[in-house]
Symmetry: C2
Subunit: 361 residues, 2 copies
């Protein structure tokens, strides 16, 4: 299986790590072996992903003499909790895994976040490799080091910053991804173009059809440039005060939608798409985007089969739901808005009336 591979190095001093992006990376044990402390790994996956990809990953490792433990969790955001986390610890302890055992996450963002958190906390930290199998996890959770689980009172409330040794983004795995999940990932890809990379946005406009068809070269390039943008933002702002907040473009509106509809009814990426359209509308009211720019934004989301209209919840309901969001500073809702395509700002400096008009659409 010949394959081209792109590699992005995430620079974090002695915690730097490579992200390899390409086809059929999953079964290339030689990519993984140099990163193991000892020939022992525990692969964490779920009941959906394991039947598709566990053997492809585990067998070549076993052939290379690696002892592989498989930990298969139930599938779903609802299981991203302390009980499921304990299943990982239980399996590690039952198998007497020591500090030199590497945890490998094989799955989407839910598996990645939970496995990363287990790695951060098992024996106060063991090595960790990410093999994200959704587009969203390939372009988003591969970079930034956030790991964690949900609490009944809030999403991602418990966690740790913990960096992987290595990320393998195998574009082939996306072929089995449900179409809606693929689109949801594309929403975050488009986001990077919108907030800080107009050239990437232009390129995406030309290549969106190929991306939706999972053309290999285009998919790989889209992942590479997304991770690079995220890495740049995160590096510039380790403490999440300034530019990092722009990664939340569309998210304050989007969380209100997810919340109102019940988590999981709208996928996160779908809500972000509709939310980004709302942010664009408000930006236009402030004179920061023109009609043509707004039309381009709508068009690319449509081409990705993403919703461009948020549900009509009523202005007050929106305000209420958005107020619950953690981006509120001193009672004012801080929003990520656009000042042209490829340029975003975080601001609470807009007329309340303009926001209400956007929310009443």
């Amino acid at each position: 299986m010949a394959s081209t591979m792109q590699t992005l190095e995430v620079s974090l001093g002695d915690r730097s790590y490579p992200i390899h992006i390409g086809q059929h990376l999953l079964s290339q044990a030689e990519l993984i072996l140099p990163h193991l402390k000892r020939k022992q790994v525990a692969i964490v996956s779920n009941t959906t992903v394991a039947p598709l990809y566990m053997a492809q990953l585990a067998e070549p490792l076993r052939m290379a003499g690696v002892k592989v433990i498989e930990i298969i969790l139930p599938d779903g955001e609802a299981y991203k909790n302390t009980e499921t986390l304990n299943l990982i610890y239980d399996a590690l302890l039952q198998n007497r895994c020591e500090r030199s055992t590497t945890l490998i996450a094989l799955g989407g963002g839910v598996i990645g976040d939970m496995t990363g958190y287990a790695a951060a906390t098992y024996l106060r930290g063991v090595p960790f490799i990410q093999i994200p199998t959704t587009l969203l996890s390939q372009v988003d959770s591969s970079v930034g080091g956030k790991t964690g689980i949900n609490h009944p009172l809030g999403k991602n409330m418990i966690g740790a910053f913990y960096q992987p040794q290595l990320v393998l983004a195998d574009t082939e795995t996306l072929k089995t991804l449900p179409a809606r999940e693929l689109s949801a990932g594309v929403a975050e890809v488009i986001k990077y173009g919108l907030i800080r990379d107009v050239k990437f946005f232009d390129w995406l406009e030309s290549n969106i059809v190929k991306l939706m068809a999972l053309d290999t070269a285009v998919t790989s390039e889209a992942i590479y440039r997304s991770c690079q943008n995220k890495a740049d933002v995160v590096a510039a702002d380790e403490h999440e005060t300034g530019e990092r907040a722009t990664l939340n473009l569309g998210h304050t509106f989007g969380h209100a939608v997810e919340n109102a509809m019940g988590y999981g009814v709208w996928l996160h990426g779908e809500a972000v798409a509709a939310g980004t359209i709302m942010a664009a509308d408000l930006s236009k009211r402030l004179g920061w985007l023109n009609d043509a720019e707004v039309a381009r934004i709508s068009k690319i989301f449509k081409a990705a089969n993403l919703p461009i209209e948020a549900p009509k919840l009523g202005v007050d309901k929106y305000i209420d739901l958005m107020g619950l969001d953690k981006k509120v500073v001193d009672g004012k809702i801080r929003l990520v808005l656009q000042q042209g395509i490829g340029k975003s700002v975080v601001t609470s400096d807009y007329p309340a009336e303009a926001l209400r008009q956007t929310l009443s659409l």
Copy 2:
């Protein structure tokens, strides 16, 4: 309340922090205030310690305008688990605590370890202050950054390295400590002298009666020199491969005792004392300690009301129990032994027969 205070600075680059040691520190809000990001704290304590000291700590803070949340957990090592940890998260979330809320641990090592771990993981990390109220926690867990909880399959299996902003060791709190708990803490104090600080050991010999009587100046000095020794060892060996292992003097034998008798029947420090005597006996068999030195070691433990004889479990039982210990490398039991008072080595290079003789005593 006039009081003298000693301060030890633990040097860890941008994670450095002070340990203040002295009388009546608990109620000096001005020691704490400069370390708060915002005037909001959550004090975690237990049903034994809170009635004794919560008000002394909380009231002056409230007078200074700090919002104080009190989280009172059940008392005991048996509660150092994921369920109790969740009680902390629940309370923090119910009170809408944000990233600027400081967690304060008020209690012994169990409260300190759990609170530190909650601080490491709540919202991926919030600030943390230690107020250890047992001698053991003042001289041991104040330094080193280890936090965590137990798992049914092993002690301290889940955790994180996480440094506090500040440690307050208030010697007054030791006055309510049960006598056995005080002695157990003294075992670790003596340990520092034995492994690396002969002058401290000499000083302890002269001052052990005053220490047991909780003379203020002597107690403060003993805590200061203990923390300094631990800080030196930890700084020299962040990754626990070399010198840090000497902190386990007496612990491999001691864990076997704790384990065999059922956890909690022998206090940890009591088992460490008996274990240290066994290590001394083996060291003598190797010609590394003479009779007079062994006698000095026994004498100081006796003066601290600590056991100097381990239970007679039989050699094979000991070997078996010690084999379970994580300090086994390639089937040989690595032990911390003495080469004189104030000089220890970690070695698996001793005749098996000598170990069997020590274990048969």
